[in-house]
Symmetry: C2
Subunit: 469 residues, 2 copies
Amino acid sequence: MAVNVSIPKGTRDFSPTEMSRRKYIFDTIENVFRLYGYLPIETPAMENLSTLLGKYGEEGDKLIYQIRSNKNLREILSKEHIKKIDEIYPFWLPQKSENGLRYDLTVPFARFVVMHQNEITFPFKRYQMQPVWRADRPQKGRYREFYQCDVDVIGSNSLINEAELIQIIYDIFQKFGLNIIIKINSRKILSGIAEIIGEPGKMIDIAIAIDKADKIGWDSVVEDLKIRGLHEKSISLLLDIFNYGEKPDAPTVSDTQAAPDKMLLNNLSVTLKNSQTGNNGINEIYRVTDLLKDINPEINVEFDPTLARGLDYYTGAIIEVKAKDVVMGSICGGGRYDDLTGIFGLPGVSGVGVSFGADRIYDVLNELKLFPENTGISTQILFVNFGQQEEKYALQALAKLRKNGINAELYPDASKMKKQFAYADAKRIPFVAIAGSNEIAANCFKLKTMSSGDEKNVSIEEMISTLKK
Amino acid sequence: MAVNVSIPKGTRDFSPTEMSRRKYIFDTIENVFRLYGYLPIETPAMENLSTLLGKYGEEGDKLIYQIRSNKNLREILSKEHIKKIDEIYPFWLPQKSENGLRYDLTVPFARFVVMHQNEITFPFKRYQMQPVWRADRPQKGRYREFYQCDVDVIGSNSLINEAELIQIIYDIFQKFGLNIIIKINSRKILSGIAEIIGEPGKMIDIAIAIDKADKIGWDSVVEDLKIRGLHEKSISLLLDIFNYGEKPDAPTVSDTQAAPDKMLLNNLSVTLKNSQTGNNGINEIYRVTDLLKDINPEINVEFDPTLARGLDYYTGAIIEVKAKDVVMGSICGGGRYDDLTGIFGLPGVSGVGVSFGADRIYDVLNELKLFPENTGISTQILFVNFGQQEEKYALQALAKLRKNGINAELYPDASKMKKQFAYADAKRIPFVAIAGSNEIAANCFKLKTMSSGDEKNVSIEEMISTLKK
């Protein structure tokens, strides 16, 4: 029988080794989220299509996986209609789709907050680590099923939240041993710039266009801005403000005395002096960086007025993180949104959050060999199986080890020694216990350290204390 | 704007409180799996429809969620066809579905083993804890999205595996503090019975029919057996063997001297003396219970010759677990299958495994109030926010607490005290720190224990040591 043994394009299986590395990533992220008082929620994989559609732009709508409904049209249509359709297209009849797979965790979160608003105590600090699905063209680093790790606080305007989210970012990537650049900007500054260049209604257009500068280059951004209806004069003013051509790298907000970023912020505040919104944005950046300086002066944040983030709903600070020593898109990003829940009928609740891209972080840690040495080791000891005579002795020792919280196993079959040791090697089990008739007679075990090959006879108590180390 | 704020029927959101309880369940199960040397894998939510269809019977096929393909038929069909279809049914054209959401974890596991057979070291001991989806009619305790926690070993015939899986079951429910009944039978015994009553080809029919005895009663089982083509004489013999009517409760396999189960097993071995398969089954039950007696005499296993399990693929031991003090279907079950991977072209690989129903276990623990008291407590301490003057002092203390691994937060806004304390209450935060101008001047914190209302002034070091307890 010819069998199709494959999985859908853009999806992946995870082996035990990959799982242990993924667990390391998720556990590290989750522990830091908890350190800052965030708590988990989960939402269903399926949402009503009405919840999902229209939230991600026209392109996004096309990428939503729709679930075929069970309400088979054959049960609804007249026999005559069914016959006609079957004649024309004999495959099968359409079924109306009512549900879709979630595209991200932000829209389901907004839906969750609105639906459970009476049970929630605000400010609501939540995290959510679940897969999302996009019917995108798969390519390197882009999957159709991938995990997002979102952390958001909703119902608080305080900039302490922005500062703490940046601390969270710093702490997590410190734990990963990864060098990163954290960039910050504010949609209010972009709004101010839009005002000053004479295009007050075009902030989102500007943001979406300049967000792609890294990928498509500034010349194409300029073309896009023209298409989006900005006047040439405005575009020219915009490029002046960004010093395009002269300073390709954005200056850094740091706490050193000669900080060019402070200069940049100061210059911008002069440029934007006639825009109240623009000035608010600049003051917010000052406030967030001042807070961070008080808490942990080692946290470096680059102010980048060209940072835009492509999404519609941001209204305040926007944050983006890239890994320093590897070529990869952003591995974390987010910002403040003043009205995310408005789309579901609960207006005026401000929130701020960031999302960690677990799959990209995996690829970066893998490339830089930053996974801890012992990731993947779970079983501490394997007992060699000599057959039914010796089994009982091993099984009773195993029960004691497990009572002491030590992961331990007996090879289930009395196979050749070579095969049993190969199993220990493949699972990276650090110790092997040998208990044949001699050891049983002496009420001991031969304990072999796999890394060195050393062997010594030990009692069960000695074995437990060795393995607990 | 009228907004549909709901989620698909049969799916659920999980609040932080529910998540903490679910995490307790998953962590407990996972830790025991690891104690016995099992390692995790994950497979994609979507599988090829060809992988899923035909594996769960005709009824099962109908319950598989199919994903609409992106390959729109409008792009494939001739304009003439499109026009005709649109005339008859103007909704939209069908899209051929190629993928479906997984229905369980067993079939994806078999597919995984076949697909990765060259990377896997056998025996392969894996666990998998992921959601599955069934387009079933939702009702109490039955969801369209729910979690399965499967543990299987594949590539070993040893009955040690059966014994260890029962140990795993015992350990897990011990940790939950739940009284359970573990029932065991063997498909080989059912095969033997089928032989003896003169219906050698009907083992699966018998299993599927008697599996429903609990729900539909024996009279309906008899009707079903007739429909399935068993002769009246055979059915009558079958009922005799099961002592239907006289012994509604199955006797227990235990290690006490007067064990009626041994009698039952002995009687059955006489009844089945002319069936090699039946006798093999009986000997396997003896062997598994003997192993368990050696390892942990406290583990009680009931032998129940009427235990059947509905699924097609079991060929050896079958196991089922029910909670004692609550009305609920089985909360765990499984068995041995000799040829699960055969459907994907890898025949002759025997495996055995059980599946824990996390959602039912949740409901049982909830009903019996067996969740630990401290489940749901994450943040250890909340700092009251007095405004920008006092913020820095609190934030610096928070940084120290978090360095020590203590989950801690500052209320982000300088709201009324009452509101801030209500927040601590809602999140069940056990301590509140108050740091106003007096405390800052004295370089201390007022530490309030929420349960008692006690307050005392402490240094940051004293606070850390109190919270680390």
